[in-house]
């Protein structure tokens, strides 16, 4: 039996629908095919775009699986069939897509992981707004809460991230020409994602993210015995997130994980309960905290519930574990006069004077609406 190497993952990253990700991916598929590479298209979303449809001609398209859900038929990528067919390279559109309930896996990126495991190289597409750690900023820029997100660690696994760039004005022209959406869809799109400043901001985020991906690869390469370069000195950062049932906790976790990833540090998250578990909490609080614990784990952040209820429990834990930065939500309550029972976060700030404390804020918009 031959041992198959894990497949390589290449992501075509855009900043909005219609910038040409799918087109670029299919173009590469053709180029590979011309080089003699065995390539098949695992999933392709034509969106009724003529250019893209024409580009798929001459490529082998693997039929989709049909899944019945609540009396309707849905089509998803057929992972089993692709594994059986086993092309060298497989093109898979719309990496962040959520599969219909009843599919083997909830997310397309999970399907892609299966294909990579069996040694198939993957070309795929996504937009910057689907990156989990940017979720709050995307909401701030567009006013839209993106639900289909991809954890950052998945994107970091990619061997290549290519920026598919187009100027926002050219994109808006495409939209007006009806090359991206049907007219009524286009009207709706123009209300949120497709306002020009939003597009410019999303594009800037995508460019920085692509640059960051390249930067990480340089650091990795240099870690493997390359020249030193001019990196600033690196302190090993250990970042602790304080999880509560406060809805802002997810935002704090995202920001902390992002900083930790960018600094090459470690990130862990803790909650505090007098019993050391969630049993004593009322139901809504417990459910919220459980959600935040799960969210952290899904982002590959280790979690723990500390036994205790006051700030000193958390600060002691941080000291014993060599934590350098603690990330918290903004303390509740007034600054003046203070509440008689101060917020635990205010107490943490008062106690942990030997470490960095980061109070994470909504990057809320000034002057909009």
């Amino acid at each position: 039996m031959t041992i198959r190497k894990r497949g390589k993952l290449k992501i075509f990253m855009g900043y909005a629908a219609g910038v040409g990700k799918t087109f670029k991916m299919l173009e590469e598929a053709h180029a590979l095919q011309a080089e003699g590479v065995d390539i098949a298209v695992g999933y392709f979303e034509p969106h009724a775009r003529q250019d893209t449809i024409a580009k798929a001609e001459g490529l082998e398209i693997i039929p989709r699986a049909r899944i019945e859900y609540r009396g309707s038929l849905f089509e998803e990528m057929d992972v089993d069939r692709i594994v059986k067919r086993r092309p060298q390279v497989c093109a898979v559109d719309e990496f962040p897509h959520s599969n219909v309930p009843g599919s083997a896996r909830a997310k397309r990126w999970e399907d892609v992981m299966v294909l990579l495991e069996v040694g198939i190289d993957i070309l795929t597409t996504m937009n910057i707004q689907h990156l989990e750690s940017l979720n709050d900023q995307i909401r701030q820029i567009t006013g839209v809460v993106v639900r289909e997100t991809i954890p950052d660690w998945i994107v970091q696994k990619a061997d290549e991230v290519v920026m598919v760039d187009l100027t926002p004005r050219a994109l808006l022209h495409r939209l007006e020409r009806g090359a991206v959406y049907r007219p009524e869809q286009a009207q709706r799109a123009l209300q949120n994602f497709f306002r020009e400043p939003s597009l410019v901001a999303l594009r800037e985020l995508a460019l920085r993210e692509a640059a960051h991906g390249v930067g990480l690869r340089i650091i990795e390469d240099e870690g493997q015995g390359g020249a030193g370069g001019q990196q600033p000195p690196r302190i090993h950062q250990k970042i602790l997130v304080y999880l509560t049932s406060d809805p802002k906790t997810a935002m704090v976790t995202r920001r902390a994980k992002r900083i930790s990833d960018f600094l090459g540090g470690e990130c862990l998250a803790v909650a505090m309960q007098p019993t050391g578990d969630l049993s004593a909490m009322n139901r809504p609080d417990r459910e919220a905290l459980e959600k935040h614990l799960n969210f952290a784990r899904n982002q590959h952040v280790q979690t723990r519930i500390l036994k205790g209820s006051d700030a000193s429990t958390l600060v002691e834990f941080a000291r014993q574990n060599g934590v350098t930065q603690v990330f918290v939500t903004r303390p509740r309550g007034r600054a003046w006069p203070r509440r008689i029972f101060p917020d635990p976060i205010q107490e943490i700030i008062g106690l942990a004077k030997d470490m960095q404390i980061v109070i994470v804020s909504d990057r809320e918009m000034v002057g909009r609406r």
């Binding site: 590979l32 460019l207 390249v214 903004r330 700030i349 404390i357 990057r363």
Partner: protein, 321 residues
């Protein structure tokens, strides 16, 4: 770029090719055959775009390759980008291309990476004045036949290309950031999208300025952000404290950071006003020193900063004492 010329021409725009290198790949040759080309003029050893011919022809859009080329020393315009500027001023839209190596302000950085000296460059201000910028991004190794390519491209060469690619993406992001700011300002919108990390280090006499600056610089470096350093001048502090502040600000200046001394009766207000004007995303301050009965009852400046710094993260540092 030529593909865009072709597409515009198909859509009925009046397109002219005003400057293409003598040798082009086959695909490009095929496009050129279908397009109107105004050839480069030979002047001595130089190939120069024919500005007069282009202005006479007056197309809607003109495509010009190799923006960074120099003209002969005795020409009216010393460089091709100045010729381009003349075309733009004559009302012709110009689409042009340049490699990241040829930006004047990045020359030193590029030479440190490639080890090659670059002569012909275009100033960053000209690039920033462009109405649009588009990145042509491609990983250094294209295609999947790695075993073939790996011999050709040594690891060292690859790393150089990666660094240049990173620079190109960051430059494009900066130009886009300028566009965004211009766009918002032109509409009188005082708003920041926090697309770029802008870090404000607030220095006082107690600040552990070394740790603060180091953290600020690492974050800025990794996030391609900017660092600002401020101190709010307070008349009531002792001469010892004043000397400590001066020493700390000197450290920041030595690190080539922008340092400003702010005036204002209330340090919190002064910091927040500065931060809002600059679109700061993270404020770095020291822990509050006193934990007096008074401050526990009424809260201190740090509490106020935390409560009022909407839209920014506050990062609190241990002090020196």
């Amino acid at each position: 770029m030529l593909d865009e010329a072709r597409r515009r021409s198909i859509r009925g725009q009046d397109v002219v090719i005003g400057g293409v290198q003598p040798r082009v790949p086959q695909e490009a040759e095929a496009i050129l055959q279908q397009m109107e080309v105004i050839p480069l003029k030979e002047v001595g050893n130089y190939a120069v775009i024919d500005v007069e011919a282009l202005i006479r022809r007056d197309p809607a859009v003109c495509f010009i390759d190799g923006l960074a080329y120099d003209n002969p020393p005795d020409s009216a315009k010393k460089t091709r980008w100045e010729d381009v500027l003349q075309l733009v001023q004559a009302g012709i839209k110009v689409v042009t291309s340049i490699n990241i190596q040829y930006i004047t302000e990045l020359r030193e950085q590029v030479e440190a990476i490639t080890g090659k000296h670059v002569n012909q460059t275009v100033p960053l201000s000209f690039i920033r004045s462009a109405d649009e910028i588009e990145v042509v991004d491609a990983p250094p190794i294209e295609g999947y036949q790695h075993s073939f390519h790996e011999e050709a491209a040594t690891e060292d060469h690859q790393r150089k290309l990666l660094r240049l690619r990173e620079m190109a993406l960051v430059l494009a992001a900066d130009v886009v950031d300028h566009q965004l700011t211009r766009y918002l300002e032109s509409r009188g919108v005082r708003q920041h999208f926090s697309t770029q990390e802008r870090i404000l280090v607030c220095v006082t006499a107690d600040s552990n300025v070394q740790e603060m600056l180091e953290t600020a610089q690492i974050i800025a470096h990794r996030f391609y952000g900017e660092v600002f350093v401020v101190n709010v001048d307070q008349p009531e502090i002792s001469s010892v404290e004043r000397a400590a502040v001066a020493e700390k600000l000197a450290l920041a200046r030595a690190a080539h950071l922008r340092v400003e001394v702010l005036e204002g009766r209330d340090p919190v207000d002064a910091i927040l006003e500065f931060a809002r004007a600059r679109g700061i995303t993270q404020v770095l301050v020291g822990h509050s020193r006193r934990s007096s009965f008074w401050s526990r009852l009424f809260g201190n400046r740090l509490d106020r900063l935390i409560q009022q710094s909407r839209g920014m993260d506050v990062r609190i540092f241990p002090n020196t004492r």
